[in-house]
Symmetry: C2
DNA sequence: CTGTTAGCGCGTTCAC
DNA sequence: GTGAACGCGCTAACAG
């Protein structure tokens, strides 16, 4: 069924049907009512592929995240999706699995769909995506970090500074034998940034870094459970395990509890991200607070501004920092 | 940039470029190499919107889930996405927020994109979507439950039987003052099914149902923390809280621990779904094991079979059950 | 307020 | 193995 069929049935032209479906165009109220009624009765669904080709507006924005399974990223995706819904745009979601090559492949596949904006979770990108993005001439937004050399717009925070701030605060609490537990390789540059922040904070206090790793990202609760062994093997005198993320920290705490070790007391543990579990777990987990939803909303706002700016002037790159502050909780409390 | 531009540059026709991009067509190897080289150099990205319009194959499948934030659904989405990737199809993901009306709106919006298959998380659907789906003439797969009156294909398990099995097992362990904690309304019919399963198991043992609720879905850890109060207010003698999901159970356990109550011992708690947290938490949480990834993979396989069947014969509805078995863990262990 | 014309950029279907 | 004509279903841009 095509617009033509609706039109013929009403003795009008397809163009009028098309206009009746866009509420902003000028169509006689009676005509519009008749069109909508006919569409409803016949169960007609417009072909948006044809519409997109004709209008060269796909109605898509694309977002790439390392892992949809991570509640943080899915919250960002959700918030962005809601923001775009208000602009009647849909979201194409891609999962890079912390893999640059897969990211590049997805960028290519998504660009073929002519998205009107693209959001990348800031990471070490495959350099080949840059010319592709430049050619697409659409807003590009990197989220979840503050890259040294941004592609264009940014919504995020410095993972490095945030982790440095947390570790500095913990050192201030009196901890010194702090061991870092994170991913092994640098596929996840947010993880690498956090590790760097840890090292800086330790160095600033005159302490040597103590690094342990658990393999490729993402860092899971199960990794945390195994990770405690790794930490103790390398640094048996550890008094605090600083984890790259909250789920990992939860796993470490669980492993301690299985051993009958008090957390805190026998061992302290910190995380990163302020996942729900960090607030609910017993003990509650010391972490860095991030509002994942806010990142999505801000990204949606930037897309709106970019569209507006295109009409007016040269759209300047927008760098929008979001808060990332340490939050000390029971898991690192010092006894009495 | 269009195919025409590539073609002119090589002194060939656009049609040859098009064929060179589909590896199955007959193009001289030298020609193909030249085309691919030119495309690479110029950074040409084919316009899939035009391709879809012309071939009437969108390359999309659409999936609607109640909540992308739920690690279970995101795992299903991920597995389905991988399965479809092998068929070079992309996944349009929609979040219904446990809302039938929103689901209907999304079905309409997605059908306009001409997906080649649609996957719905089985729920009470808005009846208006049925004619729309029928008209679309594409495979429809309902997942995560076994609906009484399926639309077409199904991959799932009976939430009712699964919960009944779990409760029966717990009654077998010697529990009788079991209180159910779940969502309030029936927006989430999987939750309603589980509640029904609980009631049946209790009735079968001659026990009266003890129902408590925590508001609309999804059931979060925070809901669990508050939920314990609700349970104790209504049924102070509760010895086991049977929760509609693992995160909710985790919240209840956390609330117990904050009161200094031993779990198990002073209170037992069960969940549903076998989320990672159920295995890692201390105590580990008794639950019903579901393989969320398998549901996605099976759905992907059904899409493949449906495409094959279309050529051969009338595609019969496929009902593919997946396992959902009780798993007793420490959180409901009987002392001694 | 409504209709007509002319593409949008590909892939299908023929020719050769 | 390659090219030319045509159409996919809709909307932009113009008439009227």
């Amino acid at each position: 069924m095509r617009m033509q069929d609706i039109a013929r049935r009403l003795g009008i032209s397809a163009m009028t049907v098309s206009r009746a479906l866009k509420s902003d165009s000028s169509v006689a109220p009676a005509t519009r009512a008749a069109v909508l009624k006919a569409i409803e009765e016949l169960g007609y669904v417009p072909n948006q592929i044809a519409g997109s080709l004709s209008s060269s507006r796909s109605g898509f924005a694309a977002i790439l995240v390392p892992s949809l399974n991570n509640p943080h990223f899915s919250e960002t995706v959700l918030a962005l999706g809601n923001a775009l819904h208000d602009r009647t745009m849909q979201l194409l979601i891609g999962n890079t699995d912390y893999d640059r090559h897969k990211e590049a492949e997805l960028v290519r596949a998504f660009l073929a769909r002519k998205p009107e904006a693209i959001i990348l979770t800031s990471d070490g990108h495959d350099p080949r995506i840059l010319p592709m993005l430049a050619k697409a001439k659409i807003p590009v937004i990197e989220i979840w970090d503050l890259p040294a050399r941004p592609i264009q717009h940014v919504v995020g925070f410095s993972n490095q500074l945030a982790m440095r701030g947390l570790i500095a605060a913990l050192i201030g609490e009196g901890y010194s034998r702090i061991t870092y537990l994170g991913e092994a390789d640098d596929a996840d540059t947010r993880g690498a940034s956090r590790r760097l922040g840890y090292c800086e904070a330790m160095a600033a206090a005159g302490l040597a870094p103590r690094l342990c790793s658990i393999g490729r990202p993402p860092a899971t609760m199960s990794d945390g459970e195994r990770g405690l062994e790794t930490v103790l093997a390398a640094y048996p005198d550890t008094e605090l395990v600083a984890c790259v993320s909250d789920p990992l920290a939860f796993g470490v705490i669980a492993a301690c509890q299985r051993r009958g070790w008090a957390v805190p007391g026998r061992m302290a543990v910190s995380g990163f991200g302020d996942f729900e579990i960090a607030r609910i777990a017993v003990p509650a987990i010391t972490t860095v607070q991030i509002d994942a939803g806010q990142i999505g909303r801000e990204a949606g706002a930037i897309i709106g501004e970019a569209f507006k700016a295109r009409r007016d002037a040269m759209p300047a790159a927008i760098i929008r920092p979001v808060p990332a502050l340490p939050c000390l909780r029971a898991s690192t409390a010092k006894a009495g």
